[in-house]
Amino acid sequence: MSDAARKIRVQCEVNGRALRFETYPMARLLDVLREQAGLTGTKEGCGEGECGACSVEIDGALVNSCLVPALQADGARIRTIEGIAGGEHLHAVQQAFLARGGAQCGICTPGMILAAVNLLARNPQPSESDIREGLAGNLCRCTGYTKIFESVVEACRSIQQQPGRRA
């Protein structure tokens, strides 16, 4: 076993704040966020890019952070679940998940909310099949997805009704 790699310095923006950290270049962005930035909202469910519990946004694109090497986060604008709410105000998607039972055990919820927020940003009026497709990379074992769909639909409606609301 040899420590061939030297640690690198990575600079990025996470939830609007500049973040600097030192880590191995192939360390997972997921671990950097959880262990070095203390942002434990993003979860590990599978370590294979299948379950989506580790979903974050990099430069506006939804990605599985368990598959992103830390080096590639340099210069990136990252958003995690902790950056979804606007301070004390929950995002429409978060409010809908609360009102509609979109979260049960909650472990898939951060990733699911990221995926939903990302979907609505790209497609403000998704059809049912758009919603299913947009969330297909996020596995939930508790809900059977039904109330997650209902939550997204409600969030949609709520965002449409308040044009000033951030999506």
Binding site: M1, A4, A5, M26, G49, V68, L119
Partner: protein
């Protein structure tokens, strides 16, 4: 996480020529890493045997999609998301867009690249069958120059491609002109999304006067490589689609493919479904 992460080197060359110089100086020592959707999975499973990687993810020379009257040329770093959003590709290369849409989910599509998919050389890859149908050509580039190769034949064996240790895939070129062809793509996976294919079938045919004037058929997950079914194409070439023709084509296809049993499916299932999809494709030709 089963890997000893400190043992893995990853460096980001500032541009393509710096990357190629590195790879030329020590051929085979450095391997490219693009979106990581294959390599990072191996890393986490403790199965990534190579230790030194060059991050090519940000190299601008490998991005962008160029459209000319004759061709659409996709940079190797074109992601599945970019394929799906491209207007010309959607209109003229629907099989490639279908393949991209059925690869993983949104998050995978944002990071997975066509070049990475080709270099990973999995026989279960979703896009290569479409690329074969579209007679794709690859530009392979090294510090010493570049060469164009047809994608058909690029694969020599299980996980073996004609890519030299100092080479990178720069772009994938597709000839326009199959616009009027009947096109068919079907991936049969373990579930509707986020699925590795059990059988993947891509095909296109030009019908002229009721006959199959020209045809391409390619399959994934039924052989050690993604396969262009040239013998089956020969059976169909120039003929009128009939049930007798279909039977003959199916017999040939059954011999051309070499499916196996694995933890996802069985050889028997794969063979039967490959023949059924051929039938489904042929049905669209007489419609």
């Amino acid at each position: 996480m089963r890997a000893y992460v400190p043992a893995y080197e990853l460096e980001a060359p500032r541009d393509l020529s710096a990357a190629l110089d590195r790879m030329a100086r020590e051929p085979g020592a450095w391997k490219p890493l693009a979106g990581g959707t294959d390599l990072m999975v191996l890393l986490e499973a403790g199965k990534l045997s190579h230790r030194r990687f060059l991050s090519i993810w940000k190299l601008p020379e490998l991005r962008n999609i160029k459209v000319t009257p004759e061709h659409v040329t996709l940079g190797a770093l074109t992601t599945y998301t970019e394929v799906r959003r491209h207007e010309t590709l959607s209109r003229e290369f629907p099989l490639l867009c279908r393949a991209a849409a059925e690869t993983g989910g949104v998050a995978t599509q944002n990071r997975g690249t066509l070049g990475g998919n080709i270099a990973n050389a999995s026989p279960a890859a979703d896009s290569p069958p479409a690329l074969l149908v579209y007679d794709a050509e690859l530009e392979l580039v090294s510090a010493g120059g570049s060469r164009w190769v047809p994608f058909h034949g690029f694969w020599s064996g299980y996980k073996q491609i004609d890519l030299r240790p100092s080479e990178l895939i720069r772009c994938i070129r597709l000839a326009r002109g199959k616009k009027g062809w009947k096109q068919y793509y079907r991936k049969v996976g373990t579930r509707r999304a986020q699925a590795i294919s059990k059988v993947c079938f891509a095909a296109a045919a030009r019908i002229d006067g009721g006959r199959i004037a020209d045809v391409r058929i390619a399959l994934g997950s039924v052989a050690p490589t993604v396969l262009r079914a040239v013998e089956t194409e020969k059976i169909l070439q120039g003929e009128t689609p009939t049930s007798a023709l279909l039977r003959a084509a199916q017999e040939t296809l059954a011999r051309e493919i070499a499916p196996i049993d694995d933890m996802r499916s069985t050889a028997r299932y794969r063979r039967r479904i490959a023949l059924n999809l051929l039938a489904e494709f042929c049905e669209t030709l007489s419609a």
